[in-house]
């Protein structure tokens, strides 16, 4: 028998768990990390292959991932298998839940866009009266953003925008292409800000190369892979968390890991599922509620840059940029609350589906238009609503017998109005920039597909309205923490991972201090 009692048990090894491990171990705290998936060996598990050698010519096995539009035949084996990991939703309201069960989690595949939230999000209720404020404000998190950006080696441009605070970036000095310059000028004329994308740099900026190595270097982290956590356990005498029961993914053997503190970072909905299945931390009754994400309208406007036809010279197109939220900042100006951001990029070839031709004409067009496309994707804030929630579906279990989630999420007129506004604005800007608009639409992808699921275990000062306090500590159990996106109170339109890392760092510092003082 091992009878090991770790200082901290961390559940999940992705952005949130990896960051917690890094922060805690560097303060001398012994951590045990459990992750449901195997560890990747990048030389053994991947091989460069030509598309025609794949069994389905790159189309992928039809029907294998009905909810993961990101899956292609190259990556099919990395997404959590939907049959082994089922979930349910109301018949007419599909939810696309995208999961990666590997050591490193979704950070192995993320797009690396890294933005700070601002007080427009943290103090959203003060601003427009809807929802709740976070129990923290921007200044509470700023020092942790300052650490998270160098950890992820974020590159970007400083702009001085209050809705998109600057950070500790590697400066992006790349030149904007002519198409970008024209778009930026058109936006400026209408008072709409733009900036370069802010991204974590390197081909891979994941927990496995940015967070876990630092933690492992301390000699204070042990990681168990293939460890599917089923339940967080508590001491019947004290009511405090004392560990977790996990199942070996392959053999189904059960184990009980013990620790003084439990930190859950299994990703937004998995963390909430685990708490619900454990019957813990829900005295408020809001655990599972206030699910939101960001709605995406992919290719809200697709254009051709006419001057780039036939590639007369380099520099006309290429590169990308970002339109930060600009609506409803200083005054209420539209028929919706909050706002949206847009990514823009140029230099690709237009989607053949959008070209109204076929045959030799289509092939000629595709050839001449190589590199001539310009398109935008809109990403909008989704209002956190009690009615959007997850609960345990008692009739469905996963391959390890663990009850699955039932997910209910619907967008409302606020989001639809925003999406229409995004389409119209993007079209106007592209028109002003002299681009030829091929297609526009405002059809958002189903909830979940943005892979920015947030809420369901939210923070707050009031234990009746929230699950966690401002340090991600459950109101009910003082040595149980949840450090991922489930803790968000609102999400803005910024991709959430940088904030997840900052929050996880802040919670970890609090844990370390509480442990030092003997309070937990």
């Amino acid at each position: 028998m091992f009878h090991r009692n770790y200082d901290v048990l961390i559940i999940g090894s992705g952005a949130s768990g990896g960051t917690a491990a890094r922060q805690l171990t560097r303060k001398g705290i012994h951590c045990l990390m459990l992750d449901a998936g195997p560890a990747v060996d990048f030389t053994r598990d991947r091989e460069l292959k030509k598309v025609y050698t794949l069994p389905y010519r790159g189309f992928g096995q039809p029907g294998r991932f009905p909810h993961v539009t990101q899956a292609d035949e190259y990556t099919e084996n990395v997404w959590a298998d939907e049959k082994q990991n089922p979930y349910t939703y109301p018949k007419d309201d599909p939810y696309y839940w995208v999961r990666v069960r590997l050591v490193g989690g979704k950070t192995l595949f993320w797009g690396r866009a890294s933005w700070r939230l601002s007080n427009y999000e943290f103090k959203c209720k003060d601003h427009d009266g809807f929802g709740e404020n976070w129990p923290i404000e921007y200044n509470d998190l700023a020092p942790y953003y300052d650490q998270a950006e160098p950890m992820l080696r974020v590159q970007g441009r400083k702009e001085g925008l209050p809705q998109l605070p600057d950070g500790v970036f590697m400066e992006d000095k790349s030149r904007d292409s002519e198409a970008s310059q024209r778009f930026i000028a058109a936006a400026r004329k209408r008072g709409i800000p733009t900036t370069k994308e802010r991204v974590a740099t390197g081909q891979l900026a994941s927990s496995v190369n940015r967070m876990l190595p630092d933690a492992l270097e301390t000699g204070k982290l042990q990681i168990v892979s293939n460890a599917v956590v089923r339940q967080i356990t508590t001491d019947p005498n004290t009511g405090l968390a004392n560990g977790a029961i996990f199942i070996d993914r392959r053999s189904r053997q059960e184990f009980h890991a013990k620790a003084r503190v439990v930190v859950v970072g299994a990703s937004c909905l998995e963390s909430t599922r685990l708490l619900l299945n454990s019957g813990l931390a829900n005295s408020s009754g809001v655990l599972g509620h206030y699910l939101f994400d960001q709605f995406y309208v992919k290719d809200v406007v697709s254009c051709i840059v006419p001057e780039a036809r036939n590639r007369p010279r380099p520099g006309i197109t290429g590169g990308d940029g970002y339109v930060p939220r600009f609506r409803n900042l200083d005054r209420r100006e539209k028929d919706f609350l909050r706002g949206y951001a847009m990514d823009f990029n140029s230099g690709g070839t237009p989607n053949p589906e959008l070209l109204p031709c076929y045959g030799a004409e289509l092939l000629r067009e595709l050839n001449e238009l190589q590199g001539a496309s310009f398109s935008l994707t809109a990403m909008g804030e989704v209002l956190p609503r009690y009615e959007n929630y997850v609960e345990i579906d008692k009739s469905t279990v996963d391959a390890w017998g663990i009850p699955a989630l039932h997910i209910r999420a619907k967008y409302t007129e606020n989001e639809f109005a925003m999406a229409r506004d995004a389409m119209n604005t993007a079209e106007e800007l592209c028109h002003d920039a002299g681009f030829e608009v091929l297609a526009k639409h405002w059809q958002m992808v189903p909830p979940g597909e943005s892979i920015h699921e947030l809420g369901t275990c939210r923070m707050g000062d009031d234990p009746k309205k929230s699950v966690l306090n401002k340090y991600n500590q459950t109101h009910d159990i003082r040595n149980l923490f949840v450090v991922d996106g489930s803790s968000f109170v609102s999400g803005g339109s910024q991709n959430p991972t940088l904030t997840i890392c900052a929050i996880s760092m802040r919670a970890s510092d609090f844990i370390a201090e509480q442990m030092r003082r003997g309070d937990i």
Partner: protein, 208 residues
């Protein structure tokens, strides 16, 4: 050493050792029958285990047609010729076996996709028969163009959802093109170009 590491290190060594495959060359016997030569293996030493060279099925055999009937497949093949012809020295849908591949791909798909294709191809034949007295496979390019008019309309979102026939045409246009440009003949042709399209990527094996 892992199999793939072994293969890679072999590739780096110019001289060939026992148990390795020689580059393909045409043997007299193969040439006589008009067949390509298979790879030749140098017999391994007693305690060596060679990796036996294999080749993909579609280089040797025709895909069995199991989803579409003869008329449907003929219509799809003709649609491939019209939508994705050979062009600029590169093979088209016909040379890429795109219709036969889609018989397999669509046949392996959820029922609604099978239905979209079957009813779309039937509709194409019905319209050809009604307007030109022949199945789609037998009509001229000009007549085909008149049946394919929806594909020359400006794109608008949700159009496909309103009309099954248009949805089929749009799906077939995208699928035939992709099945063509992802095919071996097409990629072999573009790899001769000055700046070949990158047709490779990292394939992830199941991680155990």
């Amino acid at each position: 050493m892992k199999r793939r590491t072994l293969l890679r290190s072999i590739a780096a060594i110019p001289s060939l050792a026992a148990g390795q495959t020689l580059p393909q060359r045409e043997t007299t016997a193969a040439r006589d029958k008009g067949l390509p030569a298979g790879p030749t293996l140098i017999p391994p030493g007693v305690n060596e285990t060679p990796t036996i060279p294999v080749i993909p099925a579609d280089e040797t055999s025709d895909s069995r047609i199991r989803t579409f009937d003869g008329q449907q497949l003929a219509a799809l093949a003709r649609l491939g010729e019209v939508l994705v012809p050979a062009w600029d020295g590169k093979p088209g849908a016909a040379e890429a076996g795109a219709a036969e591949f889609l018989d397999f791909l669509v046949g392996s798909s959820p029922a609604n996709r099978i239905e979209l294709y079957k009813s779309g191809l039937d509709e194409l034949n019905r319209r050809a028969q009604q307007q030109f007295g022949k199945p789609f496979a037998a009509i001229s390019q000009a007549d085909a163009d008149s049946l394919l008019a929806p594909l020359r309309e400006k794109w608008s979102y949700g159009r496909a959802a309103k009309n099954d026939f248009e949805a089929f045409l749009l799906a077939a246009k995208g699928d035939l093109l992709r099945a063509t440009v992802n095919s071996r003949p097409y990629i072999n042709a573009v790899s001769q170009e000055r700046r070949p399209r990158n047709a490779s990527n990292f394939f992830w094996y199941p991680i155990s």
